[in-house]
């Protein structure tokens, strides 16, 4: 159950290894990797700069991870979120959940990604053909986060 907020890249394979090595009680490991797309709503994107609120970011990520552990029987979990300027194709975020059973791992991973998007203080500045601009929050992200609210276990 650890959280990292960092400028440098991470290695999804190594993260998976650290979560499961030496553990024989894990039946399912689900991971999500978010990457910088070269296209957003029809606009070309060359780079993405992630600004964040140091201190609060770690607090929020730890809070949502604790919430996931309270809702699902997780054996391990991990969140890595990068900040700074990233090029198209680069990794932004990694979320992994391990559980005895696959449904818990899938649901907890989707929950973490949905909540992270609306609760962790990150802001994306997109650079592309049309110049630079702050990415607007999506109503569908709020809806995705909201759907877990009534779903306490």
């Amino acid at each position: 159950m650890t959280v990292s907020v960092q400028r440098h890249d991470f290695d999804p394979g190594r993260e998976c290894h650290l979560l499961t090595s030496g553990r024989h009680d894990i039946g399912a490991l689900v991971t999500f990797t978010g990457l910088v797309r070269d296209m957003a709503e029809g606009r070309g994107v060359s780079h993405m700069t992630l600004e964040h609120y140091p201190g609060m970011t770690e607090r929020m990520l730890e809070q949502i991870e604790a919430e996931a552990c309270a809702r699902w029987p997780l054996d391990a979990s991990r969140i890595v979120h990068r900040h700074g300027r990233l090029a198209a194709g680069e990794r932004i975020v990694f979320v992994a959940t391990a559980s005895a059973h696959r449904q818990a791992a899938f649901e907890a991973c989707a929950f973490l990604v949905d909540w992270l998007k609306t609760k962790a203080p990150f802001w994306k500045l997109e650079e592309g053909e049309a110049g630079a601009g702050w990415v607007a929050a999506k109503a569908e992200d709020d809806a995705a986060a909201e759907k877990w609210r009534g779903d306490r276990r």
Binding site: E51, R59, V93, K117, K119, W134
Partner: protein, 83 residues
């Protein structure tokens, strides 16, 4: 009181952070915004559309009616777009 601004709020205010001493009657996040807007055009532009303003008090998300006081760290920012 320590004030922090992020993303386009930071750009419009023209500051990433500042120390401020609002008068004693400023007791909520909403009242703090009202007081800031009176301080200059940069604040007015930053807080023009309040539906796009989110706040945190001492690094926890806070609503407009959340209390603020001396010594608090208050941050203002647009809706989050991480992940």
């Amino acid at each position: 009181m320590k004030l922090l601004y992020f993303a386009w709020l930071r750009e419009r205010v023209g500051l990433a952070q500042e120390e401020a001493e609002p008068p004693a009657e400023v007791r909520t996040v909403g009242a703090l915004i009202d007081w800031l807007v009176g301080r200059g055009e940069n604040y007015e532009a930053a807080f023009a559309d309040r539906s796009l303003i989110r706040a945190a008090v001492n690094q926890d998300h806070a609503a407009l009616d959340a209390p603020v006081g001396p010594g608090d760290e208050v941050a203002f920012f647009p809706p989050m777009t991480g992940g």
